[in-house]
Symmetry: C2
Subunit: 223 residues, 2 copies
């Protein structure tokens, strides 16, 4: 396995995260660089989904990934090995989320020349990451079938801040009590505009739809 760069993120000193996030977004706009903030509960398949998606997009876009975790570098190594794109690991030192300043610390370690898209894989957590604007152009989340269709009822903020909800592990739907229509209805209660894209990162089903959606977003942002 390849070695990856591991960055120890320091706690932010900025009091006004919303302002800092808006500034970061403006800087990204000026560079034509799209930042996607991908959130989910632990084990919903963020890394596997990213590998599939990046392999569909890497001939069309120049992509880098920042993997945030409390500890370990398993995800950054997986991404690098499976896609060949630049991937760095951010260690949050026990912190449950990333804010704009912490995201900036990560970005400073990503070579940005000619880059189109940076994907931030946030800490696996349905609560805290939703409370902090990272400066990303777009928030995306993954809900996996085994977690249950009632999650939008229990974690309202996460669903309301995300522009797209990817429903992963649809290949195991027969083994779980998961009602996709009911889940979509709950998601729309939280966020009527959210896109819902069912996929299986294991079989690849539906991943093209997510990749197409992301490509369109990135191209619109660059204009």
């Amino acid at each position: 396995m390849d070695e990856v760069k591991v960055i120890e993120i320091k706690k932010s000193v900025f009091a006004d995260n919303d302002k800092d996030a808006a500034d970061l977004r403006q800087e990204l706009k000026a560079k034509g660089l799209y930042l996607l903030n991908l959130m989910s509960a632990p084990g919903s398949g963020k890394t596997t989904t990213l590998i599939r998606t990046i392999n569909l997009l890497k001939d069309k876009l120049r992509i880098a990934v920042m993997e945030a975790d409390i500890d370990s570098d398993v995800d950054a190594v997986k991404i690098k090995d499976a896609t060949g794109i630049p991937s760095i690991q951010l260690h949050t030192g026990g912190m449950c989320h990333l804010d704009a300043e912490m995201t900036r610390q990560g970005l400073a370690n990503v070579p940005q020349d000619g880059l189109d898209l940076v994907i931030l894989e946030n800490v696996g957590n349905l609560v805290c990451p939703a409370e902090f604007d990272t400066g990303a152009v777009c928030n995306a989340m993954i809900l996996s079938v085994p977690e249950g269709d009632d999650k939008p009822l229990k974690y309202p903020l996460m669903f309301s801040v995300c522009d797209v909800v990817v429903i992963n592990k649809i290949d195991v739907m027969p083994y779980f009590d998961f009602n996709l229509d009911k889940c979509k209805e709950y998601i729309r209660m939280r966020n009527p505009k959210a896109q819902v894209i069912p996929i299986s990162a294991t079989t690849g089903e539906g991943v093209q739809a997510f990749a197409d959606w992301l490509l369109e977003q990135v191209n619109n942002w660059k204009q």
Copy 2:
């Protein structure tokens, strides 16, 4: 469905949570009341596991449940409907964890006369709840098979503060890339003393072992 009591928990004012938690534990010891703090990621099957376990124990112990969630009362209603035992819902008002004072606010709403065991179902989150001692006699956690066997590497604190790790959804093991031996090894890296109990809350397999373990803990505590 039955109605359940919903308590809006207020943010704690106590500066020293560790002291407050130790005090609460001492009060519980004096009453012979065992408090179990059950943690996990969202959707790992805490509620279903509790229903199975309570139905195996409710003739031997008097049990009550406190269900903590950011929003909704679906879990408290499920527990009450499926077991008939007292169940209340704690709303954390967006907070990602419970501390000892918040747990105390919940306990004040549970009728304790003759009670042996209170189970606190913490907010679904593998990060923050591990950082706050609730005053519970024992921390337990559930890791479900679809989340992956690498979770002890990524969420070290959660695994190190738990006396028992229940591995749930073993019925779907054939559909996921989950190595139980490797997972046990990772858990022991974090906590050499942790009990590991594989179960399926859906089929009931292994739940008796967890119930037996819990019954023994409660009986020892009362002595």
